[in-house]
Every structure is written in C-alpha cells, then in structure tokens.
Amino acid sequence: MIVADKKPIEEIIESVKEFKKILILGCNECVTVCEAGGKKEVGILASALRMFFLNQGKDVKIDEQTLERQCDHEYLEEIRDVVDQYEAILSLACGVGVQFTAEKYHSTPILPGVNTCFLGATEQRGLWTERCQACGSCILAFTGGICPVSRCAKRLLNGPCGGSSKGKCEISKDVDCAWQLIIDRLKALGKLDEYEKVQPIKNWSTDRAGGPRRVVREDVAL
C-alpha cells in the first residue's frame, strides 16, 4: 500500500488559515490502513482545527467526509454537489488522491494534509516500512522475494557492500541489511545458485528516471 504520514499541524494551519469554509476529505484505502488519512484521522484533524480557530476567535466552518477512494473518478463524483460550498479542500489522501481531486475540481484549492512516503507494509501497529520503489521492472524472482532496490541503502543488485555487519546495514543498526536477508532467504529456499548469477546493469528508464510514467493496457481499455 501507499504509506503516508501526518503533516505537522502547524504546516496544515499555515495552509488553511485564510479560509472560512473547509472540507477535510479522507480516503478509505491505504491512508486508512496506515492511520494517516482515514475517517478517524479526518475527525481528529477537524477537531484540532476547530479548536485552533475557536482560540483565534474565528468563525470557520469545517466539514468532514471520507471517500472510498480519491484516485477514482467514480468516488470523487460524490462530492460534486457540495464542492462549491467550500473555499478549500484539505485532502488526507496520498499525493495521487490530492492531484486527482484537484484535476476534477479546478476552481477549489485542494491542499495536502499528509506527507506521502513510500510503498510499504504494516510491520507492526505503528510501524510501516518500505518494500517497493515501483522501479517498473521487478527483480524479486532473483532475490528471494526481497527487494534490494527499496531496501538496500545503495540499491546494490549483486550482493552486499563491505558495510554489512551482523545482519544490519551500515547506515543504521536499526536497518536490516537487505542482502543479508536475501542471502538467508535464498539459503532457506535452497536457491543460493541464484545468488551466483550476475544481474545485468539495471535499466532505470522504467523507473522515474524515464520521466513521468504510464501503463497502457489496450486489452482492458474501453
């Protein structure tokens, strides 16, 4: 899923303080799972902002709504009738949701309420870690299902660097060395011969290096 984190409240206040009617728009998908932009967080943020404006002696209308998804035309249509009632929408969706909402509703400022961080998983309650960088050409088949592009600090593709120590990465004792994980897993799978194969130089043009990307699927296009 897409993992997002809360924006500092000061930054949010700075971005909305001029508006009198604000809709806080949550999203039921990834940001709900990572507890940054779902219905619950919409409620908490709305209360915090109401309190702030009350303290300032300002009369600001703050409404709450959470859509099934903000990265889908269909669900975004649900706010069409109410959009004009607001001077700004504070979207707690990921960057995709913020932009998709903005593309649909041109005349209303759509502001981001979270920082979109990475593609990751919930390792334990309150801890999300990165698993994928969407490089566009997956190599997990050769690396025991562990991604060195997203999990090795140097994005090494052919074994660890000299800094790997006791299973940890040289950048921090809190970070597992991806290559230690890969080798352990290949060993467990009895596939260490995979490790012997030299991976070719990576084609980064399918990564963000090739400019904004798109997936075109004629087989499913209408």
């Binding site: 130089i201 990576k202 084609n203 980064w204 043009s205 990564d207 290096a209 090739g210 400019g211």
Partner: protein, 277 residues
C-alpha cells in the same frame, strides 16, 4: 568570441586539441559542453582542463542531470583550483534523448539551487555551510531562450531575472539566424546591462537547415537563407559564409559576444573566423 568545443567520445584528444589550437588566438574562450543531448563523452571538466593546460581559456558547462550535490561541488572545486574561471550552468537534457536511455538522471539540484550553491562556494562555504579551504571564483553563465514571444517570453524573462539575482553574469542564447526574429526579446532587455551572447550555429547542409526551420521551435531560419543554401554550388561553403555573416551582424548589433557552435565540425571554425568581414 566564444567557440563550442565538444570533448571526444574516447581518450584520443588529438582532433579536439588540433581544432582548438588552430583558432587559439582568435577565440577568447572555448565553451565545453557537458555531454550535450545526453550523449556520453568526456566530461566538460576533463575537456576544460585539457584546453586550459594548453593555454586556452574555457567556459565549462556544469549540468544538473548527471551529478548530485556532492559531485557538483567537488567538480567545481577541481575546476576552480585548475584555473577554470568561467562556467555555464545548464539543466541538461533527459537521458532519453541521448545514447544511454537506461541511465538514471540525477537532478539532485535544480538550476537555481546550483546557482545558489556556487554563490555559497564563492563566499567560502559548501552547501552545508562548512568552511572551504580556499574558495573558487567564477564568472557564471546560463542560457536564455531569446526566440520566445508573448507569454512564454514573459516567463523566460522572469526566469532570467531570477538567474541574475542568483549570480548569473552572462547568457548564451540558442542558435540565432535572424536578429529580427528576436525583436520581442530585444525590446525587453538592455544589452548594455545584461551580457547576451547569441549562438551562431554552423548549418551543415540544406537538409539540416530545412529540418531546423520546420522542427526546432523558437529558432527562426528565414526561407531566403534556406534558398541561398539550396542555390549555392558549394553548399558547405555557403553555410560557412552564412555563419560568418551572422557573426558579423551580431557584432554590429551590440551584443556582448557570440558563441560559434559547429557540432562536430569544429575544423570549420577557422574558416568562419576568416570570413567575418
């Protein structure tokens, strides 16, 4: 008078050195591109140092595409310490245009951030604010697209002003064939205050002239010029004449200088220089 001098794709520098030496006395400095069009070749730093070593001044390009802030600063220190006095900052074309499509572009710094870093270094600090042991001093150039008009020109001019505020001392334009075509730009810029150096590109053939006239936006090649090449018995000669005449016109017009670009035909630079009336 500047001339572009592409470093070689390889380690044989004889052609570059020979071409440069032939016009050494007539060219004030050689502009050394940093892998233009994202085609891999010797770095601008390498090319500049080789020319400098042989007593030729250079304008070394510094490009955001291939290096992060560590490498950019490191190379600027190397350049400064080796006598490079003029640099030119460019964003760089996407690797997709070049011959290494699979390369990862860096773009750690934007052009304005790079300018800011250069200013900091000139004032004795690196980007992290740590003191340098001796600071480099550069005359800094950048590009400006003088061929724009209307709204596009407006934003180009505001970007140009931003660059000036960030320390740019001179600007080099894309190829110019017809001064009248950049009138909108000239009416907004005081040439005595802002040093503008148009590029004079040596057309290599009728095909190139036609192609550019049709496909390169914001570069105006008058039909009459295309016809001239078409009707000339010796087309390459005519292209050299055209380049020489354009240099002359630019000098007459009060620009701060001119940059001759021959993209691979650097051996024609002496010919162009000889023909400037």
């Amino acid at each position: 008078m500047l001339a572009e001098m592409e470093p070689p794709k390889g380690v044989d520098i004889s052609v570059m050195m020979e071409n440069a030496s032939r016009v050494k006395g007539e060219i004030d400095a050689f502009v050394v591109p940093e892998m233009s069009n994202a085609v891999m070749r010797m770095s601008a730093l390498g090319g500049a140092l080789l020319l400098q070593k042989n007593g030729m001044d250079t304008v070394m390009q510094v490009c955001c595409r291939d290096r992060n802030r560590l490498a950019l600063q490191a190379d600027l220190l190397a350049a400064g310490a080796s006598g490079v006095k003029h640099i030119m900052v460019v964003t760089g074309e996407d690797p997709g245009f070049g011959d290494h499509h699979q390369a990862k572009a860096v773009y750690d710094l934007t052009l304005l951030e790079l300018l800011d870093a250069i200013e900091k270094m000139e004032n004795g600090h690196d980007m992290s604010g740590i003191d340098l042991c001796g600071s480099p001093q550069f005359l800094v150039g950048s590009t400006v697209n003088a061929g724009l008009s209307a709204q596009a020109l407006e934003s180009e001019l505001s970007e140009m002003n931003q660059k000036i505020k960030s320390g740019v001392d001179f600007f080099i334009t894309p190829p110019l064939f017809d001064i009248a075509s950049i009138k909108p730009f000239l009416s907004c810029v005081d040439l005595s205050k802002t040093p503008i150096i148009p590029t004079v590109l040596l057309l290599k053939s009728l095909g190139m002239a036609r192609y550019m006239a049709r496909n390169v936006k914001h570069v105006h090649i008058p039909d009459e010029l295309v016809r001239r090449i078409q009707n000339a018995p010796d087309k390459a000669r005519e292209c050299v004449n055209i380049a020489a005449e354009t240099v002359h016109a630019i000098k007459e017009h009060g620009f701060s200088g001119v940059c001759i670009s021959t993209i691979g035909w650097e051996d024609k630079v002496p010919d162009i220089l000889k023909n400037i009336s």
